[in-house]
Symmetry: C2
Subunit: 163 residues, 2 copies
DNA sequence: CGAAACAGTACCAGCATGGTCCTATATCTA
DNA sequence: TAGATATAGGACCATGCTGGTACTGTTTCG
């Protein structure tokens, strides 16, 4: 469930990547979509689409023209996952019964309790808001997840294609 | 983003409804899909599909044969939104890079940090786990949302077709 | 034995997502 | 100034998933 879009996934990856490169160069590196495409393996047009969204949301600054590209505006610990998600997938809303829902809610019988979804959304929003890019950049493999498929509630990092 | 499936939405509505009816009758009422369809306005086959999932997950008990139907197994405050979501939409996993992803992750370059999505998922899981059906059943209309379309981040209880 | 009601599966339509392409615009360099 | 570079913005199409339906089987009551 709640499979967030690939675009968002890419976005996080790219933001983390840019942050890391930026760190090494200790300066504001300008990334072209071409370079990011190489670095990540994501096709160039798609990279463009992702970065466009991020830039529109203010997470990146775009520099047009020759020698142009994208520049990160904030450090990794200043950007939350929630922001990235919202930048690409729109507002965090769990139910389909959001404002635009003209005729979705004509099933009056089952509405009436719908407003309470807000609190669910808030909970999620807050949860996502607490995870920053810096968290996502933490040591890739050095996790307390041995190769034993612990599976608390599903899903181990990479192994588990066995199923 | 993260639009959870309608099925899940229906599920929550039905669970809440059954809980309320159960409360009034102070007993274990047996609900047929036909009745729930009437009560909620959701087409019968769809109701069946939803309840089947819930029953398979152990949230409901099914009684086959004549006079059969579905019976709620737990009270509203014992069932979390997370459980319902998982019952219908599968495990709560935000990224597409979950276990079954054989070739999604062959873009090795961008993987390596993917494991960290787990913590995000955990955060969400925990957030959703704290909201119970009882919470969702709270006073439908008595919310600090007047009839002015305030729309903080969308969605007012029942009005909203006005748009 | 027949009716009622769930179980399971297969099937189809609609729609959002993901990805591509094209054109316009801005900037740098020669 | 002219050309090259690179983003901005939007349109466009294909794929896959979701939502919904129908059909058949199985269980239980009367």
């Amino acid at each position: 469930m709640m499979r967030l879009s690939k675009l968002t996934d890419y976005a996080v990856v790219m933001m983390v990547h840019m942050g890391q490169v930026n760190d090494l160069s200790s300066g504001d590196v300008t990334f072209t979509t071409a370079r990011l495409s190489e670095d990540t393996g994501v096709p160039q047009p798609t990279v463009a689409k992702v970065l466009k969204g991020l830039s529109r949301a203010g997470l990146l600054r775009s520099v047009r023209g020759a020698q142009g590209g994208y520049v990160v505006e904030r450090t990794a610990d200043e950007v939350s996952i929630a922001e990235i998600i919202q930048a690409l997938d729109g507002p965090i809303a769990l139910t389909a019964c959001v404002d635009g829902a003209d005729d979705s809610c004509n099933v009056e019988n089952l509405c009436g309790m719908r407003g309470n979804w807000n609190r669910v959304n808030d909970a999620i929003q807050s949860a996502l808001g607490q995870v920053t890019l810096a968290d996502m950049a933490l040591t890739p493999m050095e996790f307390p997840v041995p190769d034993v498929p612990a599976r608390a509630h599903g899903q181990s990092p990479s192994t588990s294609r066995g199923a």
